[in-house]
Each structure stands twice: as structure tokens, then as C-alpha cells.
């Protein structure tokens, strides 16, 4: 079957065939032909207010649904505005397809209006990218782009399409089968001997410790992880990308490890003799000083990307494969050998569990609250109580992100949305927006600091326009809090360019966008605000003025060893002392 179709029609047809239901985008000169087709096309287009936010919204959608997020921008400035979100998705391995328009082929290289070398600029910002100059290649490339975005280690793929392709016409044959990609092979299944080596590693351990990351979420390996944890009876710490992989309420969960990780998680990783890395990349925010990280441990590292094995920490047993399949196979073998091989170190492991549980019990994240002031930790605790491990929480970057990760529980994967690797400020609110579009029935919180909120502020218009019931919380301390914290601790309290003054009156701001909102200063006002936010059927903007100079603890100073945590604030000193 074939019919004469324009490139723009073929593009949307191909996107629809890949299951695309929603595109986050912003139109422009060369993408006009696409938008003309979109006008009465079943794919929903959400008009964001800045292209960068289209990428973050697509990420929020992808991170919470597991589907490929799709965003679109015009040539030149539209395309260059995508770069941060592309790198963000690359760092966190989020499946995304970005479509950009390009000037007509005969104008490329002639400094045409809104021309930029998108293909060149986004080369290092994507898993792979394409420049489409021939309409005959278009549908094949779109299908390849989706295949690459979601296969193996997921990531962003950009397709730059010249205007002549978008306006050209050709006979469209629906691609039934993809041409094999010679240079792209994913190894999903481990060999049996690798599983046996891993099995020996596990049962030989006296103090096993599971360190699980975003790979668990990408691979949808939560059920297998739960079984693995219970078979091995080992403590588990998540990276900031892994939260929700194992339910936060699980007794073996010892929270996050790393720079702002829990005492138990950081002590545990220092003391373990068998570090089990599952879908992790030994990021410097986790390891601190590498040579002091898990100094007594042999390492088992499972990852789908062979380039991750031995990258930062040499693995004693490296297994390349899909972590879900690896755990399935391992679980079978663990169950079979639990009584035999598993018997050797059983007592040592029980003793170890008791030790870790002791750390967990004695050093929880501090219960910080005050009668008059809203402590940021208290705010997170309240959101945690409301969410009860079931709501979606999309955060921005900085102190509030770390407090949210510490205090809010996630009992399922794909509830926690954050910019883990790149740490892109402005990520939170548009990501929450994308998450809500993908999960209309779930409670969605957007939590930002006052700094990040100002970066994504224009998206209030998108949220208002769709009456999108996102509960927007601003944790407002009047600073770029994390930078201020470092300046306090390491730069002698010289608070250079961190004061977020001239912050808008949020009640007026909400009203200006036609949405409900409130600004609160005390714990009792916070209750009113939260009650109103939850009762409101539409969006709600809640500005929470919190204690100004509160620091995130525990904290591992950059370049320090993770067991050298700063646990509590130093004695309070007034500013100016």
C-alpha cells in the first residue's frame, strides 16, 4: 500500500506508528509544514513557552511512563535551545526523540536565516543524530531513531530535517521491517558462566551491599530487584537515579548513598566486602574520593553498557547485560543454592545486617522542625506524608532536590523525577508538566527552589493553559541554596551572587497566570496551603518561605571519602560574624 504524502505527513505518520501520543514543542519558520499537518492530527502537541522546557517535559513524560519522549523545535535558535535537555537525557539515559527543522538543503552552509549546524552542535549531546536531506530516507530514519532511543542503554536521538524534505512529496510505504544497524548491537543476556561467577561472588561475601541505580528503572527490573534483595538478604542503597527501584518502605532499604547519602548507606559502602553495582556508573557524587570508596570490597558490576564496566572502578566480576535478565537468571541460581552455597557465611551476613540496621536506626535523616519557621526538611516530610510513597515528585536541582531525595519515600519506580547526572536547573516544573500529561490520574508535585523556579517560570503559562493539575511547590529560602551552602562551608561565608532578591509576589504571580496560589511563612500556614493545593482541581502554586540558612546533611565534601561525612551543622554563627 502506498500513497503520495508530504514529508511532514510521513514524519507524523512514522511518529504515530512508533506510538507517539504527545509532542512537546515550539513552532517556527521551517517547521510550519509540520504544524500544518499537526493542526488536525490525532497526535497531541503541547505548546511550551521555551524549547528547553520541551526537552524537560519530554523527559518528565519519558521518565514517568517509560515511553519515548518526543520534542520538537525549529531550526537555529529552536534547535540550540534543545541542547541542555538533550545532554540531560544523555547523562540520565532517558529515551527521547527530538525533531528539529533545518533550512532547505540549498541554503545549508550559506548562513541562512535561523540556520545553525544542528547536526554538528548536537553530536556530542545525543546518543546518535541524523540530518535528513532525502525524503526517501525519512520514515526509515524515524524508526531507527526510536529503536536507538529505547534500545540498550536508552538515550536521546535527534533528527534534523531540511525544509525541502518536509514540503516534498513521495510515495509512502510504511516501514514494516527495520534495516539492521551494523554498528549497534545490544547484549541483553549474560552467559551462564558469568552468572556462575556472580553467584560465587555473592555467596562468598560476608558483608554484601547492593548499590542500585537508574538502570533498574530503565530495565523495569523492580520485581527482580525485590526478589534479589530478599534472597540475598542484603542491605540496598539507591543512587539518586534509582529511587523507587526498591520500595522505600522495604526494611532492607537504607536510602541514598553518596554526597548527601544516609549515614547507614555511606558507612555500609565503606565497610562492605562485596559491592554489588546494578545499573550504576560509579558517579563521583556517589563515590567521593575514588580510592576511599568501598575500600574493602570486591566489586560485581552489572550494566548494559560495556563502557561502564571498569570506567571509574575496576570490577572484579563484570557482567554486561540487561539488569532485569541478569537478575532473573541470578535469582534462579540463588534460590537453588541458598541452602548449600548460601550456608557458608550465613552467620556473618546476619551479623552484618544487624550492624547496618543499627546504623539505619541510630542515624536517620534528622527530624528538623520548628514552631514558627518552616524548616525545608519539615516541608519535605509533609509532602512525604501526603504522597505516602505513591505520588509523582518532580524536582529541580539543589538543596531541595537532596532533601526531597532524603525525606520523600517512593514505593514504586517512575515516581521520582530529577536531573541526576547533568543537574540542570529549571528542569523540575516542565518535567512535572510532562509527567502529568503522561499520568493524568496520579498526584504530581513539582518542587523547585526559588532559583530553579525562576528559570522555568514561563511554563506557568503552559500549565495554566491546559489547567494542568500540577501542585507546584517553591521551597523558597531566598538563595541559590546549594551554592550558598558551599560558600558557607568552603568559601568563608562570602555569599557571592547567590541572593535571589526581587522574587515575585507569588500570590500575585499565580493570579496573573489565572491560577490559584498562596505564599506561606509558618508551619500552620503551610497546612492551609497544602490543604488548598490538594483540594484545588487545577494547578496550584504554593510558595513556601523556609528557614533561610539551612544546610543539607549529611554531606561528604567534594573529593572526600564517603565515610568522612559532615553529619550535623556546625554551631550557628550569625551572618557578618
Amino acid at each position: 500500500m502506498s500513497s503520495l504524502m508530504s514529508g511532514s505527513q510521513i514524519l507524523l505518520e512514522s511518529l504515530a506508528r512508533e506510538g507517539t501520543e504527545i509532542i512537546f514543542g515550539y513552532p517556527g519558520g521551517v517547521t510550519l509544514p509540520i504544524y500544518d499537518v499537526l493542526y488536525d492530527h490525532p497526535i497531541q502537541h503541547v505548546l511550551v513557552r521555551h524549547e528547553e522546557n520541551a526537552t524537560f517535559a519530554a523527559e518528565g513524560y519519558a521518565r514517568t511512563t517509560g515511553k519515548v519522549g518526543v520534542c520538537m523545535a525549529t531550526s537555529g535558535p529552536g534547535a540550540t535551545n534543545l541542547v541542555t535537555g538533550l545532554v540531560d537525557a544523555l547523562m540520565d539515559s532517558i529515551p527521547m526523540v527530538a525533531i528539529t527543522g533545518q533550512v532547505p538543503e540549498h541554503l545549508i552552509g550559506r548562513d541562512a536565516f535561523q540556520e545553525a549546524d544542528t547536526f554538528g552542535i548536537t553530536r556530542a549531546a545525543t546518543k546518535h543524530n541524523y540530518l535528513v536531506k532525502n525524503i526517501e530516507d525519512l520514515s526509515q530514519i524515524i524508526h531507527e531513531a526510536f529503536h536507538l532511543a529505547k534500545s540498550g542503554r536508552p538515550g536521546p536521538v535527534l533528527v534534523d530535517i531540511t525544509k525541502n524534505v518536509l514540503t516534498g512529496r513521495t510515495n509512502y510505504f510504511p516501514a514494516t521491517k527495520m534495516k539492521p544497524l551494523r554498528g549497534f548491537h545490544v547484549r541483553l543476556d549474560p552467559d551462564d558462566d558469568e552468572i556462575e561467577a556472580a553467584l560465587q561472588f555473592l555467596w562468598a561475601s560476608e558483608r554484601p551491599y547492593i548499590y542500585a541505580g537508574g538502570g533498574i528503572i530503565s530495565a523495569a527490573a523492580s520485581p527482580e530487584l525485590l526478589e534479589f534483595v530478599e534472597l540475598l538478604e542484603a542491605p540496598l542503597a539507591h543512587t539518586v537515579m534509582g529511587l523507587g527501584g526498591l520500595p522505600s518502605d522495604h526494611p532492607n532499604f537504607i536510602s541514598m548513598l553518596g554526597m548527601h547519602g544516609s549515614y547507614a548507606a555511606n558507612m555500609g559502602v565503606t565497610e562492605t566486602d562485596a559491592l554489588i553495582g546494578l545499573g550504576v556508573r560509579f558517579d563521583d557524587r556517589v563515590t567521593g574520593r575514588l580510592d576511599a570508596f568501598a575500600p574493602n570490597a570486591r566489586v560485581l558490576h552489572v550494566d548494559i553498557d560495556p563502557a561502564e564496566i571498569n570506567k571509574n572502578r575496576r570490577a572484579d566480576v563484570g557482567v554486561v547485560g540487561d539488569v532485569k535478565r541478569v537478575l532473573q537468571k541470578l535469582n534462579v541460581r540463588l534460590r537453588e543454592t541458598k541452602e548449600s552455597l548460601g550456608g557458608h557465611n550465613r552467620e556473618n551476613r546476619a551479623e552484618w545486617r544487624a550492624r547496618v540496621n543499627g546504623w539505619k536506626r541510630e542515624h536517620p535523616f534528622a527530624d528538623v522542625s520548628d514552631e514558627n519557621e518552616i524548616k525545608p526538611q519539615y516541608l519535605m516530610k509533609r509532602i512525604d506524608e501526603i504522597s505516602n510513597g505513591e505520588g509523582i515528585v518532580a524536582v529541580d536541582v539543589g538543596q531541595h532536590q537532596m532533601w526531597a531525595a532524603q525525606y520523600i519515600r517512593f514505593n514504586h519506580p517512575r515516581l521520582w523525577v530529577n536531573s541526576g547526572g547533568l543537574g540542570s536547573m529549571g528542569f523540575g516544573m516542565p518535567a512535572a508538566m510532562g509527567a502529568k500529561f503522561g499520568n493524568p490520574d496520579k498526584l504530581v508535585f513539582s518542587i523547585s527552589g526559588d532559583g530553579g523556579f525562576m528559570m522555568s517560570l514561563p511554563e506557568l503559562a503552559t500549565i495554566a493553559s491546559h489547567k494542568l493539575p500540577v501542585k507546584i511547590i517553591i521551597m523558597n529560602n531566598g538563595w541559590l541554596g546549594m551554592v550558598r551552602q558551599w560558600q558557607e562551608l568552603f568559601y568563608n561565608r562570602r555569599y557571592s551572587s547567590v541572593a535571589m532578591d526581587a522574587f515575585p509576589n507569588c500570590e500575585l504571580l499565580a493570579a496573573a497566570f489565572g491560577i490559584k496560589g498562596r505564599s506561606v511563612d509558618t508551619p500552620s500556614e503551610l497546612e492551609v496551603g497544602l490543604r488548598e493545593a490538594l483540594a484545588e482541581p487545577g494547578p496550584y502554586l504554593l510558595n513556601v518561605n523556609v528557614t533561610r540558612e539551612e544546610n543539607v546533611f549529611p554531606m561528604v565534601p567534594s573529593g572526600g571519602a564517603v565515610n568522612e561525612m559532615i553529619l550535623a551543622p556546625p554551631k550557628p554563627v550569625a551572618v557578618g560574624d
Partner: protein
């Protein structure tokens, strides 16, 4: 130290840029890079010589990250492998009439061919290992001004003979077993 990497890549726009990008993003200087299509015109062969005088250099990681590129089909690290390496140079050297016979004799020793002769200069073509080219060029400086263009190295793995073959990063995209990490 220099690392010699041989690759097979898609013969497509951007493939060269992607490979070079893995090196240049780290600030490594590419000493030479040759690329041309293979018997299969949809593929290109690439030989890269990269200068790796860096404390942070990690050859295993570099190879793996190049292998990760979608347009890269094979990567072989030939640094310590049994490989034939050749380079071509075109050398224009000014020479006085009385020295011309001597120059030709020296050229002959290096199996260099005269590809252009002018009243005051010869242009020689020579192939060989990079060190041989260096030696010839050094010598020709004794005759007059030297102008030179080199192709950069191209390398081909020798056919396997016994156990001499370097098996690191075998010619396959299927990841090598990482349990016993191989350091060459």
C-alpha cells in the same frame, strides 16, 4: 606514547566527526588519521594515531566509548599488535645540479621514486614505516630546502600466526568479556 587504532565505520557523513569527537573532547591530539572506503563502499576504514601522553589516559575506556558509537562497526587496538603499518610521503627537495646524482642514489636506498623533476628540485614519493620516512626526510635536509606532505599511518593487522595475535578489542562489536579486564 602513541596509540594506533584501526576502525571500520559506516561510510556516512558524521562518522569521522563522531570518532574524532571522542578523542578531541578529552583534549587528545590526533597525530594522524587516514580514512577511505573499503571493498564494501558503504564502509570506511580508518587508522588513527593518537598522542596519549596524559596521566588520565585510559585506553580501554577510550576504545569502548568509540565502540559505543552507532556508526562504528569494528575497533581494533593495534598499538602492540602484529600489524603492518605504512605511511606515504611526497617530498619536494631543492637540489643543486652537482648534487643531483647523489640525491638519486640516496632516494634509491629508501626505495623512493622521483615523481616530478624540475631544474632546481626533485619531488620524491616514498612509502614505509613512519620511522623510515623520518630518516629520509632528515637526510634530504642536507641537499636543500625540503617541502613535505605525509599521509599519516595506515595499518593492517597481520594474518594470525600462532599466538602472536593481540586479542584486545577483537574485531567485534559484541563486548569482550570484562571479567578479566585486559590491559595491553
Amino acid at each position: 606514547m602513541q596509540q594506533l587504532i584501526s576502525l571500520r565505520v559506516d561510510n556516512t557523513p558524521g562518522a569521522l566527526m563522531r570518532v574524532a569527537g571522542v578523542l578531541t573532547s578529552r583534549g587528545y591530539n590526533i597525530d594522524s588519521l587516514t580514512v577511505a572506503r573499503t571493498l564494501d563502499p558503504t564502509l570506511s576504514n580508518m587508522t588513527i594515531v593518537v598522542n596519549v601522553d596524559s596521566e588520565t589516559y585510559d585506553e580501554e575506556l577510550l576504545i569502548k566509548q568509540i565502540m559505543r558509537l552507532v556508526n562504528v562497526i569494528e575497533v581494533v587496538d593495534l598499538t602492540n599488535a602484529q600489524a603492518v603499518t605504512r605511511e606515504l610521503a611526497l617530498i619536494k627537495v631543492t637540489v643543486s645540479p652537482d648534487m643531483r646524482p647523489a640525491l638519486l642514489k640516496e632516494a634509491d636506498i629508501f626505495r623512493a621514486r622521483v615523481v616530478d623533476a624540475a631544474p632546481t628540485s626533485y619531488t620524491l614519493e616514498v612509502t614505509g614505516a613512519s620511522e623510515k620516512l623520518d630518516a629520509l626526510i632528515e637526510l634530504l635536509h642536507n641537499y636543500g630546502d625540503v617541502e613535505m606532505i605525509r599521509s599519516g599511518a595506515m595499518a593492517m593487522e597481520r594474518a594470525p600466526q600462532g599466538d602472536h595475535r593481540n586479542t584486545f578489542a577483537k574485531a567485534s562489536r559484541v563486548p569482550e568479556r570484562t571479567r578479566e579486564p585486559v590491559k595491553t
